[in-house]
Protein backbone atom coordinates (compact mmCIF):
# COMPACT_ATOMS: atom_id res chain seq x y z
CA UNK A 1 0.00 0.00 0.00
CA UNK A 2 1.10 3.53 -0.69
CA UNK A 3 2.12 5.77 2.17
CA UNK A 4 1.41 8.96 0.26
CA UNK A 5 -0.99 11.36 1.97
CA UNK A 6 -2.94 13.61 -0.36
CA UNK A 7 -5.32 16.25 1.03
CA UNK A 8 -9.00 15.56 0.47
CA UNK A 9 -9.41 18.98 -1.13
CA UNK A 10 -6.52 19.16 -3.55
CA UNK A 11 -5.82 22.68 -4.82
CA UNK A 12 -5.97 23.31 -8.54
CA UNK A 13 -2.68 22.68 -10.34
CA UNK A 14 -2.65 26.38 -11.24
CA UNK A 15 -2.65 27.29 -7.55
CA UNK A 16 0.01 24.72 -6.75
CA UNK A 17 2.15 26.03 -9.58
CA UNK A 18 1.75 29.57 -8.33
CA UNK A 19 2.70 28.62 -4.79
CA UNK A 20 5.75 26.76 -6.03
CA UNK A 21 6.79 29.71 -8.10
CA UNK A 22 6.46 31.90 -5.01
CA UNK A 23 8.57 29.40 -3.09
CA UNK A 24 11.42 30.00 -5.55
CA UNK A 25 11.23 33.76 -5.72
CA UNK A 26 13.16 36.27 -3.74
CA UNK A 27 16.11 35.45 -1.54
CA UNK A 28 16.35 31.87 -0.48
CA UNK A 29 13.83 29.18 -1.13
CA UNK A 30 10.78 28.21 0.85
CA UNK A 31 11.57 24.51 1.15
CA UNK A 32 8.76 23.87 3.61
CA UNK A 33 6.25 25.15 1.07
CA UNK A 34 7.71 22.96 -1.64
CA UNK A 35 7.46 19.91 0.58
CA UNK A 36 3.95 20.76 1.72
CA UNK A 37 2.81 20.75 -1.89
CA UNK A 38 4.84 18.22 -3.83
CA UNK A 39 5.11 15.59 -1.09
CA UNK A 40 1.34 15.46 -0.97
CA UNK A 41 0.47 15.01 -4.62
CA UNK A 42 0.26 11.78 -6.57
CA UNK A 43 1.90 11.14 -9.94
CA UNK A 44 -1.04 12.36 -12.03
CA UNK A 45 -1.33 15.53 -9.97
CA UNK A 46 2.41 16.23 -10.10
CA UNK A 47 2.34 15.77 -13.86
CA UNK A 48 -0.44 18.34 -14.17
CA UNK A 49 1.42 20.78 -11.97
CA UNK A 50 4.48 20.40 -14.19
CA UNK A 51 2.50 21.11 -17.36
CA UNK A 52 0.78 24.12 -15.87
CA UNK A 53 4.02 25.43 -14.42
CA UNK A 54 5.76 25.15 -17.79
CA UNK A 55 2.85 26.80 -19.60
CA UNK A 56 2.62 29.64 -17.08
CA UNK A 57 6.25 30.38 -16.31
CA UNK A 58 7.93 29.10 -19.46
CA UNK A 59 10.25 26.89 -17.47
CA UNK A 60 10.35 23.23 -16.57
CA UNK A 61 9.54 22.87 -12.88
CA UNK A 62 12.40 20.40 -12.59
CA UNK A 63 14.81 22.97 -13.92
CA UNK A 64 13.66 25.45 -11.31
CA UNK A 65 14.04 22.83 -8.57
CA UNK A 66 17.51 22.03 -9.84
CA UNK A 67 18.52 25.67 -9.61
CA UNK A 68 16.98 26.38 -6.24
CA UNK A 69 17.69 23.22 -4.28
CA UNK A 70 20.79 21.24 -3.52
CA UNK A 71 22.28 17.95 -2.44
CA UNK A 72 20.17 15.14 -0.94
CA UNK A 73 17.05 17.27 -0.60
CA UNK A 74 17.22 18.28 -4.24
CA UNK A 75 17.72 14.72 -5.36
CA UNK A 76 14.74 13.55 -3.34
CA UNK A 77 12.44 16.28 -4.64
CA UNK A 78 13.65 15.88 -8.21
CA UNK A 79 13.24 12.12 -8.26
CA UNK A 80 9.86 12.38 -6.56
CA UNK A 81 8.52 14.97 -8.97
CA UNK A 82 9.41 12.97 -12.07
CA UNK A 83 6.80 10.75 -13.64
CA UNK A 84 7.49 7.17 -12.46
CA UNK A 85 8.58 5.84 -15.89
CA UNK A 86 10.85 8.88 -16.40
CA UNK A 87 12.22 8.44 -12.92
CA UNK A 88 13.08 4.82 -13.56
CA UNK A 89 14.65 5.71 -16.90
CA UNK A 90 16.78 8.36 -15.18
CA UNK A 91 17.83 5.96 -12.42
CA UNK A 92 18.59 3.23 -14.94
CA UNK A 93 20.77 5.56 -17.00
CA UNK A 94 22.60 6.71 -13.92
CA UNK A 95 23.22 3.15 -12.88
CA UNK A 96 24.98 2.26 -16.13
CA UNK A 97 27.42 5.13 -15.95
CA UNK A 98 30.87 4.52 -14.64
CA UNK A 99 30.93 6.67 -11.52
CA UNK A 100 27.41 5.97 -10.44
CA UNK A 101 27.40 2.30 -11.31
CA UNK A 102 24.78 0.43 -9.39
CA UNK A 103 23.38 -2.82 -10.68
CA UNK A 104 20.88 -3.09 -7.83
CA UNK A 105 18.89 -0.30 -9.42
CA UNK A 106 18.50 -2.25 -12.64
CA UNK A 107 17.43 -5.32 -10.71
CA UNK A 108 14.84 -3.30 -8.80
CA UNK A 109 13.44 -1.73 -11.92
CA UNK A 110 13.37 -4.94 -13.92
CA UNK A 111 11.98 -7.12 -11.15
CA UNK A 112 9.61 -5.03 -9.06
CA UNK A 113 7.82 -2.93 -11.67
CA UNK A 114 4.78 -4.49 -13.38
CA UNK A 115 5.47 -5.65 -16.95
CA UNK A 116 3.51 -2.87 -18.63
CA UNK A 117 5.16 -0.29 -16.40
CA UNK A 118 8.55 -1.61 -17.46
CA UNK A 119 7.57 -1.04 -21.10
CA UNK A 120 6.77 2.60 -20.25
CA UNK A 121 10.19 2.88 -18.62
CA UNK A 122 11.78 1.63 -21.83
CA UNK A 123 9.81 4.12 -23.89
CA UNK A 124 10.79 6.96 -21.54
CA UNK A 125 14.41 5.82 -21.76
CA UNK A 126 14.37 5.81 -25.55
CA UNK A 127 12.69 9.20 -25.71
CA UNK A 128 15.19 10.80 -23.36
CA UNK A 129 18.45 9.08 -24.25
CA UNK A 130 17.87 8.14 -27.91
CA UNK A 131 18.88 4.55 -27.30
CA UNK A 132 17.26 1.55 -25.76
CA UNK A 133 17.88 0.53 -22.18
CA UNK A 134 18.76 -2.95 -23.41
CA UNK A 135 21.59 -1.78 -25.61
CA UNK A 136 23.02 0.33 -22.80
CA UNK A 137 22.80 -2.44 -20.24
CA UNK A 138 24.29 -4.89 -22.75
CA UNK A 139 27.10 -2.56 -23.62
CA UNK A 140 28.01 -1.66 -20.06
CA UNK A 141 28.03 -5.11 -18.58
CA UNK A 142 29.86 -8.26 -19.46
CA UNK A 143 30.28 -11.87 -18.49
CA UNK A 144 27.95 -13.30 -15.89
CA UNK A 145 26.51 -9.93 -14.92
CA UNK A 146 25.37 -9.33 -18.47
CA UNK A 147 24.05 -12.87 -18.73
CA UNK A 148 21.81 -12.09 -15.80
CA UNK A 149 20.96 -8.41 -16.30
CA UNK A 150 20.23 -8.29 -20.03
CA UNK A 151 17.41 -10.85 -20.10
CA UNK A 152 16.15 -9.33 -16.87
CA UNK A 153 15.57 -5.92 -18.46
CA UNK A 154 14.41 -7.40 -21.78
CA UNK A 155 11.81 -9.77 -20.56
CA UNK A 156 8.08 -9.07 -20.75
CA UNK A 157 6.78 -11.43 -18.13
CA UNK A 158 3.39 -13.02 -18.20
CA UNK A 159 1.50 -11.54 -15.26
CA UNK A 160 -1.31 -14.03 -14.80
CA UNK A 161 -1.80 -16.25 -11.77
CA UNK A 162 -1.68 -19.47 -13.80
CA UNK A 163 0.75 -21.90 -12.31
CA UNK A 164 1.86 -25.24 -13.68
CA UNK A 165 2.73 -27.37 -10.65
CA UNK A 166 4.49 -30.05 -12.65
CA UNK A 167 6.67 -27.42 -14.21
CA UNK A 168 7.30 -25.91 -10.76
CA UNK A 169 8.56 -29.28 -9.57
CA UNK A 170 10.78 -29.94 -12.57
CA UNK A 171 12.24 -26.46 -12.55
CA UNK A 172 12.81 -26.53 -8.80
CA UNK A 173 14.83 -29.66 -9.46
CA UNK A 174 16.89 -27.92 -12.13
CA UNK A 175 17.55 -24.98 -9.82
CA UNK A 176 18.61 -27.27 -7.04
CA UNK A 177 20.95 -29.21 -9.33
CA UNK A 178 22.62 -26.04 -10.49
CA UNK A 179 22.97 -24.72 -6.97
CA UNK A 180 24.51 -28.00 -5.84
CA UNK A 181 26.94 -27.89 -8.76
CA UNK A 182 27.70 -24.25 -8.00
CA UNK A 183 26.68 -23.39 -11.59
CA UNK A 184 25.19 -20.09 -10.60
CA UNK A 185 25.29 -18.62 -14.08
CA UNK A 186 24.14 -21.72 -15.90
CA UNK A 187 21.92 -21.04 -18.93
CA UNK A 188 18.93 -22.95 -17.59
CA UNK A 189 19.30 -21.43 -14.13
CA UNK A 190 19.17 -17.95 -15.58
CA UNK A 191 16.46 -18.87 -18.06
CA UNK A 192 14.09 -19.86 -15.28
CA UNK A 193 14.74 -16.75 -13.22
CA UNK A 194 14.56 -14.32 -16.10
CA UNK A 195 11.62 -15.61 -18.15
CA UNK A 196 9.09 -17.32 -15.89
CA UNK A 197 6.15 -15.38 -14.53
CA UNK A 198 6.30 -14.27 -10.89
CA UNK A 199 3.47 -16.62 -9.97
CA UNK A 200 5.23 -19.56 -11.60
CA UNK A 201 8.53 -18.62 -10.01
CA UNK A 202 6.87 -18.32 -6.62
CA UNK A 203 5.49 -21.82 -6.97
CA UNK A 204 8.84 -23.15 -8.13
CA UNK A 205 10.74 -21.59 -5.24
CA UNK A 206 8.16 -22.75 -2.72
CA UNK A 207 8.58 -26.23 -4.05
CA UNK A 208 12.34 -25.83 -3.82
CA UNK A 209 12.00 -24.94 -0.17
CA UNK A 210 9.57 -27.79 0.57
CA UNK A 211 11.54 -30.39 -1.31
CA UNK A 212 15.11 -29.48 -0.40
CA UNK A 213 14.65 -28.05 3.07
CA UNK A 214 15.97 -24.56 2.51
CA UNK A 215 14.93 -21.43 0.69
CA UNK A 216 17.12 -21.01 -2.37
CA UNK A 217 18.65 -17.79 -1.07
CA UNK A 218 19.79 -19.55 2.05
CA UNK A 219 21.66 -22.04 -0.12
CA UNK A 220 23.07 -19.25 -2.25
CA UNK A 221 24.28 -17.43 0.83
CA UNK A 222 26.32 -20.47 1.80
CA UNK A 223 28.55 -19.90 -1.21
CA UNK A 224 31.88 -18.78 0.19
CA UNK A 225 32.77 -16.58 -2.76
CA UNK A 226 30.13 -13.96 -2.09
CA UNK A 227 30.95 -11.75 -5.03
CA UNK A 228 28.87 -9.04 -6.74
CA UNK A 229 27.19 -11.55 -8.99
CA UNK A 230 26.00 -13.69 -6.08
CA UNK A 231 24.69 -10.65 -4.21
CA UNK A 232 22.83 -9.54 -7.32
CA UNK A 233 21.45 -13.01 -7.90
CA UNK A 234 20.01 -13.13 -4.40
CA UNK A 235 18.60 -9.62 -4.90
CA UNK A 236 16.89 -10.77 -8.09
CA UNK A 237 15.22 -13.63 -6.30
CA UNK A 238 14.14 -11.44 -3.38
CA UNK A 239 12.80 -8.71 -5.68
CA UNK A 240 10.79 -11.21 -7.67
CA UNK A 241 9.25 -12.85 -4.62
CA UNK A 242 9.34 -10.49 -1.62
CA UNK A 243 10.22 -7.02 -2.84
CA UNK A 244 9.50 -5.39 0.51
CA UNK A 245 12.31 -7.49 2.03
CA UNK A 246 14.73 -6.21 -0.56
CA UNK A 247 13.72 -2.60 -0.05
CA UNK A 248 13.95 -2.98 3.73
CA UNK A 249 17.49 -4.20 3.32
CA UNK A 250 18.46 -1.34 1.05
CA UNK A 251 17.00 1.12 3.55
CA UNK A 252 18.72 -0.53 6.50
CA UNK A 253 22.14 -0.54 4.83
CA UNK A 254 21.77 3.01 3.62
CA UNK A 255 20.59 4.37 6.95
CA UNK A 256 23.35 2.55 8.80
CA UNK A 257 25.87 3.80 6.25
CA UNK A 258 26.83 0.26 5.36
CA UNK A 259 27.59 -0.92 1.87
CA UNK A 260 28.02 1.33 -1.15
CA UNK A 261 24.44 2.24 -2.01
CA UNK A 262 24.41 5.68 -0.38
CA UNK A 263 21.53 6.93 -2.43
CA UNK A 264 19.47 3.89 -1.50
CA UNK A 265 17.38 5.75 1.05
CA UNK A 266 16.32 8.46 -1.39
CA UNK A 267 15.69 5.96 -4.13
CA UNK A 268 13.55 3.56 -2.13
CA UNK A 269 11.42 6.28 -0.56
CA UNK A 270 10.78 8.14 -3.81
CA UNK A 271 10.12 5.02 -5.86
CA UNK A 272 8.00 3.07 -3.38
CA UNK A 273 5.91 5.77 -1.64
CA UNK A 274 3.16 5.36 -4.19
CA UNK A 275 3.49 1.59 -4.43
CA UNK A 276 4.10 -0.49 -1.31
CA UNK A 277 5.73 1.78 1.26
CA UNK A 278 3.34 0.68 4.00
CA UNK A 279 4.45 -2.95 3.51
CA UNK A 280 8.07 -1.83 3.57
CA UNK A 281 7.50 0.14 6.78
CA UNK A 282 6.02 -2.95 8.42
CA UNK A 283 8.95 -5.03 7.25
CA UNK A 284 11.40 -2.43 8.52
CA UNK A 285 9.80 -2.29 11.94
CA UNK A 286 9.74 -6.08 12.13
CA UNK A 287 13.40 -6.38 11.21
CA UNK A 288 14.85 -3.42 13.08
CA UNK A 289 12.48 -2.96 16.03
CA UNK A 290 12.20 0.73 15.30
CA UNK A 291 9.74 2.48 12.97
CA UNK A 292 11.23 3.59 9.68
CA UNK A 293 10.36 7.23 10.09
CA UNK A 294 12.16 7.33 13.41
CA UNK A 295 15.24 5.65 11.93
CA UNK A 296 15.22 8.20 9.12
CA UNK A 297 14.79 11.08 11.57
CA UNK A 298 17.83 9.89 13.49
CA UNK A 299 19.94 9.51 10.38
CA UNK A 300 18.96 12.59 8.40
CA UNK A 301 18.19 16.19 9.10
CA UNK A 302 16.72 19.41 7.76
CA UNK A 303 14.69 19.62 4.61
CA UNK A 304 15.87 16.24 3.39
CA UNK A 305 14.50 14.61 6.53
CA UNK A 306 11.25 16.57 6.28
CA UNK A 307 10.76 15.48 2.66
CA UNK A 308 11.33 11.81 3.36
CA UNK A 309 9.16 11.81 6.45
CA UNK A 310 6.37 13.57 4.56
CA UNK A 311 6.51 10.96 1.79
CA UNK A 312 6.33 8.25 4.41
CA UNK A 313 2.98 9.64 5.39
CA UNK A 314 3.93 11.44 8.56
CA UNK A 315 3.64 15.17 9.04
CA UNK A 316 0.60 17.09 7.87
CA UNK A 317 -1.12 16.62 4.56
Amino acid sequence: MASLKVPSNVPLPEDDAEQLHKAFSGWGTNEKLIISILAHRNAAQRSLIRSVYAATYNEDLLKALDTELSSDFERAVMLWTLDPPERDAYLAKESTKMFTKNNWVLVEIACTRPALELIKVKQAYQARYKKSIEEDVAQHTSGDLRKLLLPLVSTFRYEGDDVNMMLARSEAKILHEKVSEKSYSDDDFIRILTTRSKAQLGATLNHYNNEYGNAINKNLKEESDDNDYMKLLRAVITCLTYPEKHFEKVLRLSINKMGTDEWGLTRVVTTRTEVDMERIKEEYQRRNSIPLDRAIAKDTSGDYEDMLVALLGHGDA
Binding site: K131, E134, F156, G160, T195
Partner: protein, 316 residues
Protein backbone atom coordinates in the same frame (compact mmCIF):
# COMPACT_ATOMS: atom_id res chain seq x y z
CA UNK B 1 -20.11 -31.42 -74.50
CA UNK B 2 -16.73 -32.19 -75.99
CA UNK B 3 -15.22 -34.04 -73.06
CA UNK B 4 -11.44 -34.00 -73.76
CA UNK B 5 -11.38 -30.20 -73.77
CA UNK B 6 -13.28 -29.99 -70.53
CA UNK B 7 -11.13 -32.71 -69.06
CA UNK B 8 -8.11 -30.54 -69.71
CA UNK B 9 -9.60 -27.44 -68.23
CA UNK B 10 -10.90 -29.41 -65.29
CA UNK B 11 -7.48 -30.85 -64.56
CA UNK B 12 -6.06 -27.39 -64.97
CA UNK B 13 -8.57 -25.98 -62.50
CA UNK B 14 -7.35 -28.22 -59.72
CA UNK B 15 -3.64 -28.23 -60.44
CA UNK B 16 -1.06 -25.83 -59.09
CA UNK B 17 -1.76 -23.31 -56.36
CA UNK B 18 -5.28 -22.28 -55.49
CA UNK B 19 -8.36 -23.68 -57.20
CA UNK B 20 -10.34 -22.24 -60.07
CA UNK B 21 -13.69 -22.28 -58.32
CA UNK B 22 -15.60 -20.84 -61.28
CA UNK B 23 -14.25 -23.39 -63.73
CA UNK B 24 -15.13 -26.17 -61.34
CA UNK B 25 -18.66 -24.93 -61.03
CA UNK B 26 -19.15 -24.67 -64.75
CA UNK B 27 -17.49 -27.95 -65.68
CA UNK B 28 -17.70 -30.38 -62.79
CA UNK B 29 -20.82 -28.85 -61.41
CA UNK B 30 -22.65 -29.07 -64.66
CA UNK B 31 -21.37 -32.49 -65.60
CA UNK B 32 -23.34 -35.69 -65.89
CA UNK B 33 -22.53 -38.81 -63.92
CA UNK B 34 -21.13 -40.60 -67.01
CA UNK B 35 -18.79 -37.72 -67.82
CA UNK B 36 -17.37 -37.73 -64.36
CA UNK B 37 -16.78 -41.47 -64.68
CA UNK B 38 -14.88 -40.89 -67.88
CA UNK B 39 -12.92 -38.16 -66.18
CA UNK B 40 -11.97 -40.43 -63.32
CA UNK B 41 -10.91 -43.20 -65.70
CA UNK B 42 -8.80 -40.79 -67.70
CA UNK B 43 -7.09 -39.06 -64.77
CA UNK B 44 -4.56 -41.65 -63.75
CA UNK B 45 -2.76 -39.16 -61.51
CA UNK B 46 -5.85 -38.48 -59.42
CA UNK B 47 -7.66 -41.78 -59.49
CA UNK B 48 -6.71 -45.42 -59.49
CA UNK B 49 -8.85 -48.08 -61.10
CA UNK B 50 -9.97 -50.84 -58.74
CA UNK B 51 -10.65 -53.38 -61.48
CA UNK B 52 -11.75 -56.17 -59.18
CA UNK B 53 -14.49 -54.09 -57.66
CA UNK B 54 -15.16 -52.00 -60.79
CA UNK B 55 -14.79 -48.46 -59.49
CA UNK B 56 -12.23 -45.66 -59.65
CA UNK B 57 -11.01 -44.56 -56.24
CA UNK B 58 -9.18 -41.37 -55.30
CA UNK B 59 -5.51 -41.32 -54.74
CA UNK B 60 -4.85 -40.18 -51.18
CA UNK B 61 -2.70 -37.39 -52.42
CA UNK B 62 -5.50 -36.17 -54.68
CA UNK B 63 -7.80 -35.71 -51.72
CA UNK B 64 -5.03 -34.12 -49.71
CA UNK B 65 -4.04 -31.87 -52.55
CA UNK B 66 -7.57 -30.63 -53.07
CA UNK B 67 -8.08 -30.08 -49.39
CA UNK B 68 -4.90 -28.07 -49.22
CA UNK B 69 -5.53 -26.03 -52.32
CA UNK B 70 -9.13 -25.26 -51.39
CA UNK B 71 -8.01 -24.13 -47.96
CA UNK B 72 -5.48 -21.59 -49.18
CA UNK B 73 -8.08 -18.90 -49.66
CA UNK B 74 -9.74 -19.87 -46.37
CA UNK B 75 -6.50 -19.63 -44.42
CA UNK B 76 -5.57 -16.36 -46.06
CA UNK B 77 -8.88 -14.81 -45.12
CA UNK B 78 -8.80 -16.01 -41.53
CA UNK B 79 -5.25 -14.79 -41.16
CA UNK B 80 -6.12 -11.47 -42.74
CA UNK B 81 -9.08 -10.89 -40.44
CA UNK B 82 -7.01 -11.61 -37.36
CA UNK B 83 -5.33 -8.87 -35.42
CA UNK B 84 -1.69 -8.62 -36.58
CA UNK B 85 -0.53 -9.26 -33.04
CA UNK B 86 -2.50 -12.50 -32.79
CA UNK B 87 -1.28 -13.49 -36.22
CA UNK B 88 2.35 -13.14 -35.22
CA UNK B 89 1.86 -14.75 -31.81
CA UNK B 90 0.28 -17.79 -33.47
CA UNK B 91 3.03 -17.96 -36.08
CA UNK B 92 5.68 -18.07 -33.38
CA UNK B 93 3.78 -20.68 -31.37
CA UNK B 94 3.34 -22.87 -34.42
CA UNK B 95 7.00 -22.54 -35.32
CA UNK B 96 8.02 -23.53 -31.80
CA UNK B 97 5.83 -26.59 -31.92
CA UNK B 98 7.08 -27.62 -35.33
CA UNK B 99 10.68 -27.53 -34.21
CA UNK B 100 14.03 -26.50 -35.54
CA UNK B 101 13.15 -26.49 -39.22
CA UNK B 102 10.55 -23.79 -38.58
CA UNK B 103 12.64 -21.47 -36.41
CA UNK B 104 13.17 -19.20 -39.40
CA UNK B 105 9.61 -17.99 -38.78
CA UNK B 106 10.59 -16.80 -35.33
CA UNK B 107 13.50 -14.92 -36.84
CA UNK B 108 11.24 -13.39 -39.47
CA UNK B 109 8.62 -12.17 -37.01
CA UNK B 110 11.08 -10.80 -34.50
CA UNK B 111 13.31 -9.06 -37.03
CA UNK B 112 10.94 -7.60 -39.61
CA UNK B 113 8.22 -6.20 -37.35
CA UNK B 114 8.42 -2.76 -35.78
CA UNK B 115 9.23 -2.54 -32.06
CA UNK B 116 5.60 -1.83 -31.20
CA UNK B 117 4.32 -4.66 -33.39
CA UNK B 118 6.71 -7.16 -31.85
CA UNK B 119 5.74 -5.97 -28.38
CA UNK B 120 2.10 -6.35 -29.42
CA UNK B 121 2.75 -9.92 -30.54
CA UNK B 122 4.28 -10.60 -27.13
CA UNK B 123 1.22 -9.17 -25.43
CA UNK B 124 -1.03 -11.32 -27.60
CA UNK B 125 1.11 -14.31 -26.69
CA UNK B 126 0.36 -13.71 -23.00
CA UNK B 127 -3.31 -13.54 -23.77
CA UNK B 128 -3.46 -16.57 -26.03
CA UNK B 129 -1.06 -18.95 -24.34
CA UNK B 130 -0.78 -17.82 -20.68
CA UNK B 131 2.95 -17.58 -21.00
CA UNK B 132 5.43 -15.11 -22.30
CA UNK B 133 6.91 -15.69 -25.73
CA UNK B 134 10.42 -15.62 -24.34
CA UNK B 135 9.78 -18.23 -21.64
CA UNK B 136 8.21 -20.57 -24.16
CA UNK B 137 11.08 -20.21 -26.59
CA UNK B 138 13.70 -20.38 -23.83
CA UNK B 139 12.31 -23.61 -22.47
CA UNK B 140 11.74 -25.32 -25.83
CA UNK B 141 14.79 -24.34 -27.81
CA UNK B 142 17.98 -26.09 -26.92
CA UNK B 143 21.26 -25.86 -28.61
CA UNK B 144 23.22 -23.02 -30.13
CA UNK B 145 20.28 -20.93 -31.28
CA UNK B 146 18.57 -20.37 -27.99
CA UNK B 147 20.43 -17.22 -27.04
CA UNK B 148 19.84 -15.65 -30.43
CA UNK B 149 16.14 -16.51 -30.65
CA UNK B 150 15.29 -15.46 -27.09
CA UNK B 151 17.24 -12.26 -27.57
CA UNK B 152 15.56 -11.47 -30.87
CA UNK B 153 12.01 -11.85 -29.55
CA UNK B 154 12.85 -9.93 -26.37
CA UNK B 155 14.07 -6.91 -28.28
CA UNK B 156 12.38 -3.53 -27.96
CA UNK B 157 14.62 -1.55 -30.25
CA UNK B 158 15.14 2.18 -30.38
CA UNK B 159 13.57 3.44 -33.60
CA UNK B 160 14.67 7.04 -33.67
CA UNK B 161 17.20 8.58 -36.01
CA UNK B 162 20.10 9.09 -33.61
CA UNK B 163 23.08 6.85 -34.14
CA UNK B 164 26.68 6.81 -32.93
CA UNK B 165 28.72 5.96 -35.97
CA UNK B 166 31.98 5.25 -34.06
CA UNK B 167 30.09 2.80 -31.93
CA UNK B 168 28.78 1.12 -35.08
CA UNK B 169 32.29 1.04 -36.48
CA UNK B 170 33.83 -0.56 -33.41
CA UNK B 171 31.05 -3.10 -33.31
CA UNK B 172 31.61 -3.87 -36.97
CA UNK B 173 35.18 -4.72 -35.98
CA UNK B 174 33.93 -6.94 -33.19
CA UNK B 175 31.64 -8.72 -35.62
CA UNK B 176 34.43 -9.08 -38.17
CA UNK B 177 36.69 -10.64 -35.57
CA UNK B 178 33.95 -12.96 -34.38
CA UNK B 179 33.31 -14.14 -37.92
CA UNK B 180 36.99 -14.72 -38.60
CA UNK B 181 37.88 -16.56 -35.44
CA UNK B 182 37.36 -20.25 -35.01
CA UNK B 183 36.17 -22.02 -31.91
CA UNK B 184 32.67 -21.21 -30.78
CA UNK B 185 30.15 -21.01 -33.61
CA UNK B 186 29.47 -17.39 -34.48
CA UNK B 187 25.83 -17.61 -33.48
CA UNK B 188 26.81 -18.52 -29.92
CA UNK B 189 29.23 -15.66 -29.39
CA UNK B 190 27.94 -13.31 -26.72
CA UNK B 191 29.06 -10.15 -28.44
CA UNK B 192 27.41 -11.16 -31.71
CA UNK B 193 24.14 -11.92 -29.97
CA UNK B 194 24.35 -8.71 -27.94
CA UNK B 195 24.82 -6.56 -31.01
CA UNK B 196 22.15 -8.23 -33.09
CA UNK B 197 19.54 -8.40 -30.36
CA UNK B 198 19.85 -4.96 -28.78
CA UNK B 199 21.06 -2.44 -31.36
CA UNK B 200 18.65 -0.31 -33.36
CA UNK B 201 18.16 -1.16 -37.03
CA UNK B 202 19.69 2.16 -38.00
CA UNK B 203 22.77 1.37 -35.94
CA UNK B 204 22.97 -2.01 -37.67
CA UNK B 205 22.80 -0.35 -41.10
CA UNK B 206 25.82 1.75 -40.18
CA UNK B 207 27.55 -1.32 -38.82
CA UNK B 208 26.82 -3.15 -42.07
CA UNK B 209 28.52 -0.45 -44.11
CA UNK B 210 31.62 -0.50 -41.90
CA UNK B 211 31.78 -4.29 -41.83
CA UNK B 212 31.84 -4.51 -45.59
CA UNK B 213 34.60 -1.93 -45.76
CA UNK B 214 36.69 -3.63 -43.09
CA UNK B 215 36.27 -7.14 -44.39
CA UNK B 216 36.05 -6.36 -48.05
CA UNK B 217 33.18 -8.80 -48.24
CA UNK B 218 29.43 -8.66 -47.75
CA UNK B 219 28.08 -9.30 -44.27
CA UNK B 220 24.99 -10.61 -45.98
CA UNK B 221 26.96 -13.07 -48.05
CA UNK B 222 26.62 -15.69 -45.35
CA UNK B 223 28.96 -15.26 -42.42
CA UNK B 224 27.93 -18.21 -40.41
CA UNK B 225 27.10 -21.84 -40.72
CA UNK B 226 23.95 -20.92 -38.90
CA UNK B 227 21.30 -20.16 -41.46
CA UNK B 228 19.24 -18.57 -38.70
CA UNK B 229 21.97 -16.04 -38.04
CA UNK B 230 22.32 -15.26 -41.73
CA UNK B 231 18.59 -14.90 -42.00
CA UNK B 232 18.43 -12.61 -38.99
CA UNK B 233 21.01 -10.34 -40.60
CA UNK B 234 19.07 -10.27 -43.86
CA UNK B 235 15.76 -9.57 -42.11
CA UNK B 236 17.23 -6.79 -40.03
CA UNK B 237 19.18 -5.11 -42.82
CA UNK B 238 17.31 -5.84 -46.03
CA UNK B 239 13.81 -7.07 -45.29
CA UNK B 240 12.53 -6.35 -48.82
CA UNK B 241 15.22 -8.59 -50.25
CA UNK B 242 14.45 -11.28 -47.70
CA UNK B 243 10.75 -11.23 -48.52
CA UNK B 244 11.35 -11.21 -52.27
CA UNK B 245 13.52 -14.27 -51.95
CA UNK B 246 11.06 -16.26 -49.93
CA UNK B 247 8.18 -15.21 -52.17
CA UNK B 248 10.12 -16.49 -55.12
CA UNK B 249 10.83 -19.74 -53.33
CA UNK B 250 7.15 -20.19 -52.55
CA UNK B 251 6.17 -19.61 -56.17
CA UNK B 252 8.75 -22.01 -57.51
CA UNK B 253 7.29 -25.06 -59.16
CA UNK B 254 9.44 -27.32 -56.98
CA UNK B 255 8.35 -25.71 -53.76
CA UNK B 256 7.29 -28.14 -51.06
CA UNK B 257 4.12 -27.97 -49.03
CA UNK B 258 5.61 -25.82 -46.28
CA UNK B 259 7.36 -23.41 -48.58
CA UNK B 260 4.18 -22.78 -50.56
CA UNK B 261 2.53 -21.54 -47.38
CA UNK B 262 5.04 -18.72 -47.19
CA UNK B 263 3.14 -16.96 -49.95
CA UNK B 264 0.04 -16.40 -47.85
CA UNK B 265 2.06 -15.46 -44.80
CA UNK B 266 4.13 -12.78 -46.51
CA UNK B 267 1.20 -11.24 -48.32
CA UNK B 268 -1.14 -11.20 -45.35
CA UNK B 269 1.42 -9.95 -42.83
CA UNK B 270 2.93 -7.27 -45.05
CA UNK B 271 -0.03 -5.99 -47.07
CA UNK B 272 -1.00 -3.38 -44.47
CA UNK B 273 2.45 -1.83 -44.68
CA UNK B 274 2.29 -0.04 -48.01
CA UNK B 275 5.82 1.32 -47.94
CA UNK B 276 7.30 -2.08 -47.22
CA UNK B 277 5.09 -3.76 -49.76
CA UNK B 278 6.21 -1.35 -52.44
CA UNK B 279 9.85 -2.01 -51.58
CA UNK B 280 9.19 -5.73 -51.82
CA UNK B 281 7.51 -5.32 -55.20
CA UNK B 282 10.40 -3.27 -56.49
CA UNK B 283 13.02 -5.66 -55.17
CA UNK B 284 11.18 -8.63 -56.61
CA UNK B 285 10.97 -7.00 -60.00
CA UNK B 286 14.69 -6.16 -59.94
CA UNK B 287 15.66 -9.66 -58.95
CA UNK B 288 13.39 -11.71 -61.13
CA UNK B 289 12.50 -9.58 -64.08
CA UNK B 290 8.75 -9.73 -63.73
CA UNK B 291 6.29 -8.14 -61.36
CA UNK B 292 4.77 -9.98 -58.44
CA UNK B 293 1.36 -9.30 -59.90
CA UNK B 294 2.32 -10.98 -63.14
CA UNK B 295 3.72 -13.99 -61.38
CA UNK B 296 0.63 -14.35 -59.22
CA UNK B 297 -1.56 -14.03 -62.28
CA UNK B 298 0.33 -16.79 -64.04
CA UNK B 299 0.74 -19.23 -61.24
CA UNK B 300 -2.25 -18.95 -58.98
CA UNK B 301 -5.92 -19.64 -59.53
CA UNK B 302 -9.36 -18.70 -58.35
CA UNK B 303 -10.37 -16.84 -55.24
CA UNK B 304 -6.94 -17.29 -53.71
CA UNK B 305 -5.35 -15.51 -56.64
CA UNK B 306 -7.90 -12.70 -56.58
CA UNK B 307 -7.41 -12.27 -52.85
CA UNK B 308 -3.64 -12.04 -53.20
CA UNK B 309 -3.92 -9.57 -56.06
CA UNK B 310 -6.30 -7.45 -54.01
CA UNK B 311 -3.86 -7.40 -51.10
CA UNK B 312 -1.08 -6.49 -53.49
CA UNK B 313 -3.01 -3.61 -55.00
CA UNK B 314 -3.56 -1.99 -51.59
CA UNK B 315 -0.13 -0.47 -51.88
CA UNK B 316 -0.53 0.78 -55.45
Amino acid sequence: MALPLEFESLTEAISGMGVDENALISTLGKSQKEHRKLFRKASKSFFVEDEERAFEKCHDHFVRHLKLEFSRFNNAVVMWAMHPWERDARLVKKALKKGEEAYNLIVEVSCTRSAEDLLGARKAYHSLFDQSMEEDIASHVHGPHRKLLVGLVSAYRYEGNKVKDDSAKSEAKILAEAVASSGEEVVEKDEVVRILTTRSKLHLQHLYKHFNEIKGSDLLGGVSQSSLLNEALLCLLKPALYFSKILDASLNKDADKTTKKWLTRVFVTRADHSDEMNEIKEEYNNLFGETLAQRIQEKIKGNYRDFLLTLLSKSD
